[in-house]
Amino acid sequence: MSGAIKAKHQRLVLVLIALAALIGAGLLAAWALRSQASFFYLPAEMAANPPEPDRAVRLGGMVEAGSIKTAADGVTIAFVVGDGKARIPVRFKGIVPDLFKEGSGVVAEGKRDADGTFVADNLLAKHDEKYVPREMKDMTAAQARQTVEETK
């Protein structure tokens, strides 16, 4: 591009570059969101239609009564998340949130491993009456009541 043409159309060129950059950013964002957004699953959905093993997803449901087992290292726990239709085994290594307990609601963030266990790297439990993980608000009324009962 010669200097003269460039000078003449500089404003236009700048506008076009800006537009191209913004559209490029938008397309990139859309592409990345398709591959990186983590979807939310209920246990029944995960059992019926499991996500690929390496994809980060979220699993929400109730911690089954009597299912929490602590491993010998003292920091790894295994438990079952269910919704009355399906049961998914979950493994978590870490310090559990304070209101994580059997019979109450949880959202686990992590990936499914090859043998079907959900390996969580983060757990979200009901925090207090003002904070509920977004997904948990949509659990059935019975589950919500139960959650409230449990955490009173």
Binding site: A21, L28, L33, R58, D73, I95, R134
Partner: protein, 647 residues
């Protein structure tokens, strides 16, 4: 009594905002109308009144007046005074009152201090400020009244969310709000300049100190908020891409772009349309952030209010203000004449790249923040986290930082790369060496790129001082150098944290020792402890680094009783080369305690860098204001002398 007074002051302030809008509008479209002279004094009184109203709310919280609904819901008589005081804005209504207070005071301050712009543009600016304030006054008075009474009065308050019971609350939200809402000044300046067709270097020079001021507070607020989340949430991370964090990051990105483009407009009379556009966008991002946080549309760690009527109200305000300003922009953009031209290889060219990349990053963050909301409206639940945000923002930010190494060395208008090439040898070699070492050490792509780039920038950011007499370098140049150096420092901290952090998660008996990244940490015992409104289990840890002297650490697991909730208080040991971070977990059935330990080399540089960036802003602001004062006093002297000679 005090509550009635606060409410009355708020109503009066709203009425004055209406008067300010009316008188300002008259002044703009009927030049010479005597009402125009009212605008400045009215803006000042309005700011004073809304500040009084906010002071009344703080008073009600300090004395725990339980006949006020907001106090009864969010405070408690047994709370320490600092948290009663700060609790005034630790809730929806109080924080919105803080918002309009900052808005009113900012307008008052501009009315008081800004004398450079043509009076007509000034009136349009203050009218626009009043127009925006008016909407938020209406929101407060009709949808979020902080002074609603409770009859009969409650016998005791419900308490403040324990997560917020931290000295950070006293400092973090006000700082952030001053920054956030201070950008309304840029918005009003842009609208005023478009209405009166006065977009030029004078507009940029008048606007710049205000934007700089707001940007400094925003930078400090984000930095402080990041450190607060880091030690309070106990997850060892310093940025979570939480929508609430993004809500403060987006205005910062836009304001940073605005600062840079305003400097092009002020110095070279180029990028006129773009700068006006950014003035509108920056505050629009603040309003979108407010909508996200205050409407309860997100339920995240920070969001407490859930009430759809408020969401609809703020959404309507957004549509009016952002839509209105963009419409005005669309109508007036073509009448803003083209600015001066420049070659791509020039200071302006570098700043254009800066602006494009910042806008790109802003777009990425905006899309990633809004996408889950849109998807949920379509019936799919997704969340978007670091796997999206980290690489995508890096895609824009890393090339921008490369240009940052070169841009400040280029001359305005037209320059040759060959001229600055010799200077760039040292930073390029440093970057190559650091990148090579990082690759040999087997780091992942992003941390390795971060470390290499920070090595480039540490040297390159200082180059504008190269070969100059340091005593004659002007303050704004020092400001630029310090801020860019801060970027290099913060980048190194981020890269080092993600590359070199060592983590141990163990269950131990008292007396046992754990090794993590050069530290030996011993659990001595765990003891109960009582605070003013909580009880806790406190671990007694001793830690020594590479066999050095022992440091005591006391992480706690706290239980609050009003409202009943548990939090974990992390403990930090800070050295010059990093931080040891300890969290106490649960007790397992066999009596062992869970301990989570991190050694985070150079993590503190992240916040040190953030503060340096803000310090750079302060230097630039002081330099600009001082030279403005000198110029105006010189102009007065000349005018005075002329007047005497004329007689």
């Amino acid at each position: 009594m005090i509550a009635n007074f606060g409410l009355a002051a708020l109503w009066f302030a709203a009425a004055l905002a209406a008067l300010q809008l009316f008188a300002g509008g008259l002044g703009v479209y009927r030049p010479g109308n005597p009402l125009g002279a009212l605008v400045r004094p009215v803006a000042m009184v309005q700011g004073g009144l809304v500040a009084l109203s906010f002071a009344a709310l703080i008073w009600l919280f300090c004395v725990t007046d339980l006949s006020v609904l907001l106090v009864a819901k969010n405070s408690h008589s047994a709370k320490p005074l600092l948290f009663k005081f700060a609790g005034a804005w630790g809730n929806h209504e109080g924080s919105m009152l803080l918002w309009v207070t900052v808005m009113g005071l900012a307008g008052a301050f501009v009315a008081l201090a800004e004398r450079r712009l043509p009076e007509r543009t000034m009136l349009a600016t203050l009218a626009s400020q009043a127009f925006v304030s008016l909407g938020f006054y209406a929101f407060l008075l009709f949808a979020s009244n902080p002074f609603t009474r409770l009859n009969p009065a409650a016998s005791e308050g419900q308490g403040l969310n324990p997560m917020l019971q931290d000295p950070g609350l006293a400092f973090h939200p006000p700082t952030l709000y001053v920054g956030y809402v201070g950008l309304s000044i840029a918005f009003s300046f842009a609208v005023g300049a478009m209405l009166t067709r006065e977009v030029g270097p004078l507009f940029a020079k008048a606007m710049r100190p205000w934007v700089l001021g707001a940007w400094i507070f925003l930078t400090v607020g984000i930095t402080a908020g990041s450190y607060w989340a880091y030690y309070e949430l106990g997850w060892g991370g310093w940025w979570f891409w939480d929508p609430v964090e993004n809500a403060s990051l987006m205005p910062w990105l836009a304001a940073t772009a605005l600062l840079h483009s305003a400097s092009v407009l002020a110095a070279r009379n180029a990028l006129r349309t773009w700068t006006v556009m950014l003035g509108v966008v920056a505050f629009s991002m603040s309003m979108i952030g407010t909508f996200l946080v205050r409407s309860g549309i997100l339920t995240s760690v920070h969001a407490f209010a859930v009430d759809p009527t408020r969401g609809a109200f703020i959404l309507a305000l957004l549509a009016i203000y952002i839509g209105g300003a963009l419409n005005l922009f669309a109508v007036r953009a073509s009448t803003i004449s083209e600015g001066e031209r420049f070659a791509l290889t020039s200071r302006e060219g570098g700043l254009v790249v800066n602006n494009l990349m910042l806008s790109g990053a802003l777009g990425i963050v905006l899309v990633g923040t809004l996408y889950p909301l849109l998807a949920e409206a379509m019936g799919t639940k997704v969340s978007v986290g670091p796997p999206y945000f980290n690489p995508m923002t890096a895609l824009f930010v890393l090339p921008m930082l490369l240009v940052l190494a070169v841009g400040p060395l280029l001359r305005w208008r037209r320059d040759r790369v060959a001229r600055v090439r010799p200077m760039l040898l040292a930073p390029a070699l440093a970057g190559l060496a650091a990148g090579l070492m990082a690759t040999i050490a087997g780091l992942k792509l992003l941390p390795a790129a971060g470390i290499a780039l920070s090595a480039v920038l540490v040297i390159a950011s200082l180059l504008p001082l190269h070969g100059r007499n340091l005593r004659t370098v002007k303050l704004p140049v020092w400001g630029m150098v310090v801020a860019h150096f801060g970027v290099a420092i913060a980048l190194f901290g981020m890269a080092s944290d993600s590359a070199f952090t060592r983590e141990r998660l163990v269950a131990v008996n008292p007396g046992q020792t754990v090794a993590v990244g050069g530290w030996q940490v011993t659990l001595k015992q765990v003891e109960p402890l009582a605070g003013p409104n909580w009880t806790a289990l406190q671990a007694d840890l001793t830690a020594s680094y590479l066999g050095g002297s022992e440091i005591a650490l006391h992480p706690q697991a706290r239980s609050f009783w009003a409202p009943p909730q548990q939090t974990s208080e992390s403990a930090l040991a800070t050295r010059w080369n990093g931080q040891l971070y300890a969290v106490l977990g649960d007790r397992s059935e066999d009596g062992r305690w869970q301990l989570r330990l991190w050694w985070k080399p150079f993590v503190t540089l992240i916040w040190l860098g953030g503060l340096l960036i803000a310090l750079g802003g302060v230097l630039a602001l002081v330099g600009r204001v001082m030279s403005d004062l000198r110029r105006s006093s010189a102009e007065r002297k000349i005018a005075y002398r002329r007047m005497r000679q004329g007689r």
